[in-house]
């Protein structure tokens, strides 16, 4: 590849045959590896999505995007609650890397401490590995309390903790009694699951057991809901909140983006849960429904069309003419600002190709944004999602629980006798359903993707290289570990975990930001300079002329020569 791949954009190239691409990707692997990866590279059928081997073990020696269970627990649901003081129990590293490396933006009110700016851990030493670390942990909690006086403390375990058998739950219980504040323990050792996903589940369980339901006083609002699975990367939660407020809907708690411990305590007092990232938080949505009677629906505020659809769905749920009218007004208003930008950018990039490999929901949600501007998704896949996120929740009963998933506790939840107050009566729910409304309705990524598109779970480094070589996408959405690999090949890569330190991209205003961002990445001159002029046109260069010979034509001649040089030897 001497030419940057992006210049070979492809209406002129025959569309690659996905089955052949798959075979090409697998070709180099040892048999055992090929067999396993074959189950994770799937030719899509939106009618009846084929089974994908998601949420299975990562193959040793394969360069993967995935992280660990601890990262999942520290990173989402629990981690971003800004005023819980979190202590990582373990050697210094795990906690260090999780320190401020996810962009969960917060604006705490005056007087409240944002513990996300702190990295606290027990910096375990050999002594504790040999003789146990409970004493040091207990001491660390006492010191943290004495220094910071937090409302609540969470303890997170890393790999060595489980192995040496420290009982962090007993420590938490004792400390809770001693200090009189909520002290919670999370057994999220890195090896507990096959990816971050296990950590999400553990965080869901802990937050549900220990925080949700501690404060029964609801926020006063006519329409009151939570947004679940939204982490306020780059300010997304703020965009969503602002939009909903415009419509007259109050968000009690965003789990977990710019959210306080106190907000989470009363998150069970709402009428509706809207689930953004299904993968990371469907457990809490389910448990809140069972225990408190709060129905949940899938929402998606990524993409203009998706946002409008979501607003209408929420309005329909609340079943109020006033709200419905207001929602239509807001959509109309927002679209007035959005349309011209979208049209302008769409005109430039219609038909260009994107591929998305990230997370547990974004590889799906961001397809909507690219489609908004007429781009095509040539391939997509998640990093740590499960089959239901690909194929839809309808496959849940058929998912085999393997040894790794069995590791993670399934909380047994029953209706709370005093507090189970369904927002809607069974009749109302049935009526809504009869009218085409669906609850718990995540249909997954595959139904929205074209037939035969390659869906690749936990894409490996090698497969990514092949994909770029063959499909030559114009842009790829991925994460920090891939970004510069991809860009070295001359293909711009948008980090969809950190947003490359920009954003927000949610709701209408966020969509406009994203269109502009894609436009910037696809039009920047950087990639055009890759080939130096002497390689493009070896013989063309600035001529040497005697100044005296230039005469009257000097000025013109000079300008022409410079133009020529600037254009890499070709006449501009």
């Amino acid at each position: 590849m001497s030419e940057p791949t992006h210049t070979l954009t492809a209406p002129d190239l025959a569309a690659p045959d996905p089955a052949a691409v798959k075979a090409e990707m697998l070709k180099i692997y040892p048999a055992k590896t090929a067999k396993k990866r074959a189950k994770q590279i799937i030719l899509n059928d939106p009618e009846t999505p084929p089974e994908i081997g998601a949420n299975s073990r990562t193959i040793p020696g394969i360069i993967t995007q995935r992280g660990c269970t601890y990262a999942g627990c520290r990173g989402v649901v629990l981690g971003p609650i800004y005023d819980i003081l979190q202590i990582t129990h373990g050697p210094v590293g795990c906690g260090f890397y999780a320190w401020l490396s996810r962009r969960n933006l917060v604006r705490p009110p005056a007087g409240s401490t944002n513990y996300l700016q702190y990295c606290m851990n027990t910096d375990m030493q050999e002594d504790q590995i040999v003789f146990g670390g409970e004493k040091k942990l207990t001491q660390a909690i006492r010191e943290a309390y004495a220094i910071f006086k937090p409302k609540a403390i969470a303890i997170l375990a890393t790999c060595p903790v489980g192995l040496i058998g420290d009982d962090i739950h007993t420590v938490a219980k004792l400390m809770k009694a001693e200090l009189g504040i909520n002290v919670m323990a999370f057994s999220c050792e890195g090896y507990k699951g096959v990816s971050q996903s296990a950590g999400h589940h553990i965080a869901n369980n802990g937050v549900f057991k220990n925080i949700i339901g501690l404060d029964d006083k609801p926020d006063e609002a006519e329409f009151n809901m939570n947004i679940l699975g939204e982490y306020n990367i780059g300010g997304d939660a703020w965009e969503i909140d602002t939009l909903l407020r415009k419509c007259g809907i109050h968000v009690t708690s965003t789990l977990s983006g710019d959210v306080s411990y106190d907000q989470v305590k009363k998150s069970h007092t709402v009428m509706l849960n809207g689930v953004m990232c299904h993968r990371s938080i469907n457990y809490i949505a389910e448990m809140m429904e069972k225990k408190f009677g709060i129905p949940w629906i899938k929402v998606n505020f990524i993409g203009a069309e998706a946002t409008a659809k979501t607003l209408r769905k929420i309005a329909k749920f609340f079943d109020s003419k006033k709200l419905t009218d207001r929602v239509e007004e807001v959509i109309a208003q927002e679209m007035i600002a959005l349309r011209p930008v979208r049209a302008e950018i769409k005109a430039r990039h219609q038909g260009k190709k994107a591929a998305l490999f990230v997370g547990g929901s974004r590889a799906h949600h961001y397809q909507d944004l690219f489609r908004d501007i007429g781009m095509e998704i040539v391939s997509a896949g998640y990093e740590f999602a499960h089959r239901d996120d690909y194929e839809g929740r309808k496959v849940l009963p058929t998912i085999k629980v393997d040894a790794d998933s069995r590791n993670i506790e399934e909380l047994h939840v029953e209706a709370d006798p005093a507090r189970f107050k369904p927002t809607k009566t069974p009749e109302q729910m049935e009526a809504l359903k009869a009218g085409g409304f669906s609850f718990k309705d995540y249909e997954g990524m595959m139904v929205e993707m074209k037939k035969s598109t390659l869906v690749i779970d936990d894409i490996t480094h090698h497969e990514m290289e092949k994909l770029i070589e063959i499909y030559k996408p114009d842009i790829i959405g991925s994460g920090i570990k891939d970004k510069f690999v991809i860009e070295k090949m001359g293909v711009p890569c948008k980090q969809l975990h950190s947003y490359d330190y920009s954003g927000p991209y949610a709701a209408f205003a966020g969509a406009v930001n994203f269109y502009r961002e894609v436009d910037r990445m696809l039009t920047t001159k950087v990639w055009k300079y890759i080939t130096p002029p002497w390689e493009k046109a070896p013989l063309a260069s600035v001529e040497l002329v005697h100044a005296s010979k230039l005469g009257g034509a000097k000025k013109n001649g000079e300008a022409k020569a410079w133009r020529k040089a600037a254009a890499g030897g070709e006449e501009a």
């Binding site: 490396s101 910096d123 991809i486 070295k488």
Partner: protein, 463 residues
Amino acid sequence: MLDGTTAEIKPREALRINPAKTCQPIGAMYAALGIHGCMPHSHGSQGCCAYHRSHLTRHFKEPVVATSSSFTEGASVFGGLANMTQALSNIFTIYDPKIVAVHTTCLSEVIGDDIPMMIKKATEEGIIPAGKVVIHANTPSFVGSHVTGFASMVTAMVKYLSESSGKTEAQLKDEPQLNIIPGYIDPADMRELKRIIKEMGVKTVLFPDTSGVLDLPQDGRYRMFPSGGATIEQIKSAGDSVGTIALGHFASHPAAEKLDEKCNVPCALLELPYGLTNTDRFIHALRNHGGVDVPGTLGEERGRLLDAMGDMHQYFHGKRVAIAGDPDHVIALTQFLVELDMKPAYVITGSSGNHFEQRVTEILKDQAPEAIVKQNSDLFALHQWIKNQPVDLLIGNTYCKYIAHVEKIPFVRFGFPVLDRMGHRYFPGVGYMGALRLMEKINDALLDHKDRECPEETFELIQ
């Protein structure tokens, strides 16, 4: 910002807050990337490897590839042999590196996996193809820090690769070669060391060498194993060198000592060449042990640095400075600040090691005997001291920026990691030219701060 940090200092023994160090494997991974054609391999759960790759990538903004044994609970209980074997088979089949450098993680250390046995077994079973090499370093993170991990991997290079070929002294003196062990410095620094060495005309082997690996040009191509890095042959030949110049007590001296022990190569144990006198010592050592003269060009560089120090030292003189970072870096930088007439007030490292406190105290004994010097410290402690008695300048990695912001202190980024600025990726901090750059950064930070904060009547056009 950092609203929970108060001036009142309460006793703290067990709780680490805002560390000034991280864990061993990231250093080992970085060192391994300084071998040409090397795949670093993390033996443990994949989370560590993901964290280390991500963080190195954020610092270098370059592809950082490494593999993991991807333990799940089974491996954690029964040992990681099967995972290692499968990993090696995949790595050599798919990525085809020349060498794999294995480091452990807390997990594999706690369960006590025997890596040499695993490598031996993989060799016997033919999983490691003929001509390919696998080396290893133990890097438990409940001991030491990322600097220890770096040092251990460099030492592993010596243990596994360096050899004395049995050449006679006379043969070796014929074309004398020096080893340079550069320490935990950036690719731009390694590149600068090589430039200086070339100017001097000394034949050297520099290892590890991440220049040409983690500072790649954009040419539209991705190469998993780029042209840079010390080759296996070079590291092998280190055993035949006439001497080793090792830069940094913590990151480099252990490997130099190992090389002496194994191949009888004597070593000069220096500090990192940050600042004037440390660079002087490095060049002096190259001159004497390489048998060359110092070229005029380097003399001129030195002269320009000294000239700038003379021109600008009024802005440095007596300024109180807080420094946080890795021990070798901080020791050398403290020396440079003393050369600039500054007054280091708090000098900390997150790593442990008495040598740090002894050496810094010695450097400061005339100029700033009252300075607080601490190993095994953290940024929270540093911040509290600053709250009690402020400083004029803070120097440290990116994590320090929160302290600088909230306390409104001029701030210079230095060390590892720098996650929010670009200069370290391209411009060296070592050598005379590097010292000029550091000095410029300090000067800019101080004067920009003055320009921003001073009353109008002292806002000056010329400084």
